[in-house]
């Protein structure tokens, strides 16, 4: 320590008096030489000066060494020099640099992208105090085959009163709200929460206060805002606290604002996982508390007491579940409704199921980076082999081995930094390419960002890659002393045989890997193509849709709902450029209601009651979506009147119950055979329409006129029934222009009503295949990377061997070998490796494709087109990779090459 301090002090002083130091170094050496010269002269030497210098050694080198010893950060100056030199070298071989940077960029980019996902999904803290102690608690009815279920209000009450393992327990559920008053009305995601939720999470509002227990009862309208909502809608004005806002047309008093970092609920696979923009007390109503085994929609979060382990809490929950079951009516218990309680750490619940697959994918991309490094090492080797003489000369001229290492490391660092920058760019692009549909399913994926931790990860990766691919060539450099390299090729040949085996292995396996991935990509592309050519049963073109939800608290009566329908229909139809308008409870690609039904005369065995999707339509729905009429007719206008008792069914339903018959005129009713519902007459049969994911087996579907909907359905004060309104407008021409007009019309009808979205139907079709498009893109990208890596690997290897064999080739040429023969020899060498790789890839692919069959749509796992195209593409790429070095080999000038050796 003392030595280190004294050296620091002296170096600092030297740094401050640079000229003095320089003078001192000069003087000291000069003094020595002068003294020696004097001594030699007195002893009668002929040339005393020369003798003194000879005995001293290289004056320049000693002075250089001394200067280096005193330099503040030793080797800094030489480092800069090497960096400059490396940059110059790389600029001269631009093709090499580009390939290396791209290879590294792809490897680093893939890893950065995956790490940023892992970072967002697994590493980033939840933002709650002591989040490790938070657990989520579920109910379950194992006898009914339900493992996890949210709590009913009554069960939650019991759980809260009797449990002893938790410091606090809180319930919550997602509820959307219409937020209006001041500014445009909007549809926001909210959550109803127990008064103590924020205390349970250990996060307090930054402005105002959280809920009091007294506020957790029906009729108290208070709300807490999220930071985001406060910023966007209320311009971060703190005086909003204490003011009133309109939620579903009811006044709520804002009492607090949560901090920016607070997100609750967390997005994930669990129930109730939509991050809320505002929170209101859960305030269970008498009706919610009326019955067991209904309305299981409350998620529960709890904080373990100090000293209570998760195991202990779980054991206590088992006992508690038995107690709660006691209060269930015997009828329910006999039917298998006997609750169990289960607890799981919150973190695990949110992201647990993604941990293994994400880490596996990260490992796989890590492997890709390794292959990239190996390829780069290959390329560098082929260059280093060509530069063996340069290094030998440098060593002979006195460059110390450390300096050579430094030079190589400098080159490697420059390349890997450039690769890192490319990688981050690729990662940024890749992360943003993840479609929202997929982002919604993985927690944290929507907030994936290239943050500091990700950058640090990339930095470490760059460093590691630089070290790996710089050291590989170095290992070969060390094999012989400079003399060997200057004298002959003996060191090269031994080196070659040992290194080449590994490199050949690399090339073969990358070719094989590329084959497998290309087959995967090929199958996915074929599957996607057949998906896109599937008949979805309707024509989305030129249709624009709008969806809105009428707040139940305002549209209380059936009349108010019907009036809204009639007015909206009329005003949309009056818009210019509109061909037809239809309103419905749901649009194609989505479903709304599932009903049990009884076809007339059918013998329905117990427990096999058929169910069908049901859509209520208003106006020419089938005409607007241009669906196919199979039998009978569409609804006619005067049928949009109550109690005409007509129904239109889809082909699937007709084929199931009236196969080979004319279904028109047949009757069905809702509910079981004994139900009091009226019989409905089938007036038409329409072609099957995709109800969800395209390509899925179509389900049963029935359509009823909205006007036929019984009054009491719409009057229900609890039910949201019939208040979700979708409007579909078919335009004469370009539908985009209609969006603004539609918005305006709706706003004229009800200024407070929030429009959820106005979209083109085309867009919705495209969104629904987004997951397939994305996985096709992903596999395709991986395949492209693998193909690129395989080509680079092949090229690097051949280029390396050719540099090794320049002399041999020169001799062959000098002895009269044809240039074409030389090219053939090189290509043959590559072709052999490619052939092995292709065979291995083919065998592995044939074995692996069965694992993706479930993901393929109408595509054979041994799809001939794919299995012919892939080897062709690979062979073509490989041929280019072989042809370049072959061409170079053929251009060897025997005279020059031999003289150079």
């Amino acid at each position: 320590m003392a030595e280190w301090l004294s050296s620091l002090r002296l170096r600092l002083r030297a740094l401050l008096r640079r000229r003095q130091l320089e003078q001192d170094l000069q003087d000291e050496v000069a003094f020595h030489l002068a003294m020696r010269e004097d001594q030699l002269r007195t002893s009668g030497a002929i040339d005393a000066g020369a003798g003194a210098r000879r005995r001293f050694g290289s004056v320049t080198k000693i002075r250089e060494d001394l200067r280096e010893a005193w330099a503040f950060a030793p080797r800094m100056s030489s480092l800069l020099q090497d960096l400059k030199y490396a940059a110059r070298t790389l600029r001269r071989s631009r093709g090499f640099a580009v390939v290396v940077v791209l290879t590294l960029g792809l490897g680093i980019g893939a890893n950065t992208a995956f790490f940023s996902i892992i970072n967002a999904a697994l590493l980033r803290p939840l933002g709650y105090a002591d989040a490790d102690r938070l657990v989520s608690v579920h109910e379950g009815f194992p006898q009914r085959g339900i493992d996890r279920f949210p709590f009913s209000a009554l069960d939650f009450d019991d759980f809260r009163s009797y449990q002893q393992s938790f410091e606090r327990v809180a319930a919550y559920r997602n509820v959307p709200f219409e937020l209006s008053g001041g500014g445009n009305p909007e549809r926001i995601e909210g959550a109803k929460v127990s008064a103590n939720l924020f205390r349970t999470l250990g996060v307090n509002p930054i402005v105002g206060r959280s809920f009091s227990t007294a506020e957790d009862r029906p009729g108290v309208n208070v709300a807490i805002l999220s930071w985001g909502l406060w910023q966007q809608r209320y311009a971060a004005n703190p005086s909003i606290v204490g003011q009133t806002i309109q939620l579903d047309r009811q006044p709520y008093t804002v009492i607090g604002i949560m901090p920016a970092t607070f997100v609750f609920p967390r997005r994930g696979p669990q129930f109730n996982s939509q991050p809320a923009d505002l929170w209101v007390p859960i305030a269970f109503t008498e009706r919610e508390r009326a019955e067991r085994a209904t309305m299981h929609n409350n998620s529960v979060i709890a904080r373990l007491k100090d000293g209570v382990s998760l195991q202990a809490a779980r054991a206590a929950l088992d006992v508690l579940a038995g107690q709660i079951a006691e209060s269930y009516p015997p009828v329910l218990r006999k039917a298998g409704f006997s609750p169990r309680l289960a607890a799981q750490p919150l973190r695990e619940e949110i992201s647990g199921q993604f941990e293994a697959p994400l880490l596996m994918l990260q490992a796989a991309t890590g492997l890709v980076l390794l292959v990239a490094c190996a390829n780069v090492a290959n390329l560098i080797l082929s260059r280093v082999a060509g530069r063996t003489r340069e290094f030998a000369v440098r060593t002979a001229l006195g460059a110390r081995p450390r300096r050579l290492v430094q030079l190589l490391l400098c080159e490697a660092s420059l390349l890997s930094v450039a690769g890192g920058v490319t990688g981050i760019t690729i990662a940024y692009w890749a992360v943003n390419a993840v479609p929202a549909v997929i982002a919604r399913t993985i927690p944290g994926l929507q907030d994936v960002a290239i943050d500091l931790r990700v950058l640090a990860f990339t930095g470490v990766m760059c460093l590691a890659t630089a070290v790996i691919f710089a050291l590989l060539p170095l290992a070969t450099l060390d094999r012989g002393s400079p003399g060997d390299s200057l004298r002959d090729d003996s060191s090269r040949t031994t080196l070659a045989s040992r290194k080449l085996r590994i490199q050949r292995g690399f090339v073969v396996s990358t070719v094989g890997l590329a084959f497998v991935l290309l087959v995967g990509a090929g199958l996915f592309i074929r599957s996607f193509a057949s998906l896109m050519s599937t008949d979805i049963g309707f024509r989305p073109a030129q249709v624009v849709t709008a969806s809105m939800t009428l707040p139940r608290t305002f549209y209380t009566t059936a009349t108010s709902v019907r009036t809204f329908h009639e007015s909206l229909y009329g005003s949309l139809l009056a818009l210019p450029g509109v061909r037809s308008v239809a309103l419905a409870t749901n649009l194609p690609l989505t479903t709304y209601d599932v009903r049990a039904f009884t076809p007339e005369g059918a013998n329905i065995p117990e427990g096999a009651q058929p169910t069908t999707h049901l859509t209520w339509v208003h106006g020419p729905y089938f005409e607007t979506f241009r669906m196919t009429l199979r039998h009978g007719r569409f609804f006619v206008n005067d049928e949009h009147v109550q109690n005409r008792s007509v129904v239109i069914i889809n082909e699937k339903l007709a084929d199931l119950f009236w196969p080979g018959e004319d279904p028109v005129g047949k009757r069905l009713k809702w509910g079981i055979a004994a139900s009091q519902a009226p019989w409905l007459t089938v007036v038409g049969v329409v072609g099957n329409v995709a109800d969800g994911p395209i390509g899925a087996e179509p389900g049963l579907h029935a359509y009823e006129p909205f006007r036929q909907l019984p009054e009491f359905f719409l009057n229900g004060a609890v039910n949201q029934f019939g208040r979700d309104v979708k409007a579909a407008v078919l335009a004469h021409g370009e539908p985009r222009a209609l969006a603004a007009l539609i918005r305006q019309e709706i706003s004229t009808l009800d200024r407070e009503l929030a429009i959820q979205n106005i979209e083109l139907m085309d867009q919705q079709v495209s969104d629904i295949v987004a997951p397939q498009r994305f996985s096709t893109l992903l596999v395709g990208a991986f395949a492209a990377v693998a193909l690129f890596l395989a080509s680079v690997g092949l090229y690097g290897l051949l280029a390396f061997t050719i540099t090794q064999r320049t002399r041999e080739i020169a001799v062959r040429l000098a002895l009269g070998a044809e240039r074409r023969a030389v090219m053939r020899m090189v290509v043959a060498q590559g072709a052999q490796l490619v052939a092995i790789g292709l065979t291995a890839g083919l065998v592995v692919s044939l074995g692996l494709t069965r694992f993706v069959t479930s993901l393929l749509y109408r595509t054979n796992q041994y799809d001939l087109v794919t299995f012919i195209t892939v080897p062709a593409v690979l062979a073509a790429a490989a041929f280019i990779a072989c042809a370049l070095p072959a061409w170079r080999a053929a251009r060897v000038e025997p005279a020059t090459a031999l003289r150079a050796e």
């Binding site: 030595e3 050296s7 003087d27 050496v29 020595h32 004097d38 001293f56 004056v59 000693i62 060494d65």
Partner: protein
């Protein structure tokens, strides 16, 4: 990084430093005097290029085992004189000690047969 030469250099360097420290126990000297002294004392056994002495001297100075001061030499030239510090003395003692032990062990092995 030829393995053998670098090891030889390390050994040489350690020895050279030890010799420099030993030389200075008799009082302060400049570089030329040290070179001469080593040359004579080691009975010309160590044939080092004289220049190699200086990096070693400067390293010892930087490590605080020696201090240096500029003065005028006997023949009226500007010369840099080196002197042992307390640390240097201690290091010499430690190193000599271990050197003796090593060479004693070697001697025992060699003469024990």
């Amino acid at each position: 990084m030829g393995a053998d030469p670098s090891k030889r250099a390390d050994l040489l360097q350690g020895t050279l430093e030890l010799l420099i420290l030993r030389t200075l126990t008799t009082g302060e000297k400049h570089g030329y005097e040290i070179a001469e002294w080593i040359h004579v004392a080691s009975a010309e056994a160590l044939s080092v290029e004289e220049g190699a002495l200086y990096p070693a001297l400067h390293r010892l100075e930087l490590r605080g085992l020696l201090t240096a001061a500029w003065d005028v030499s006997a023949n009226n030239r500007r010369a840099k004189y080196y002197r042992l510090t307390a640390n240097g003395r201690k290091r010499l003692k430690d190193t000599t000690e271990s050197w003796r032990r090593t060479s004693a062990a070697i001697n025992r092995v060699l003469e024990g047969t």
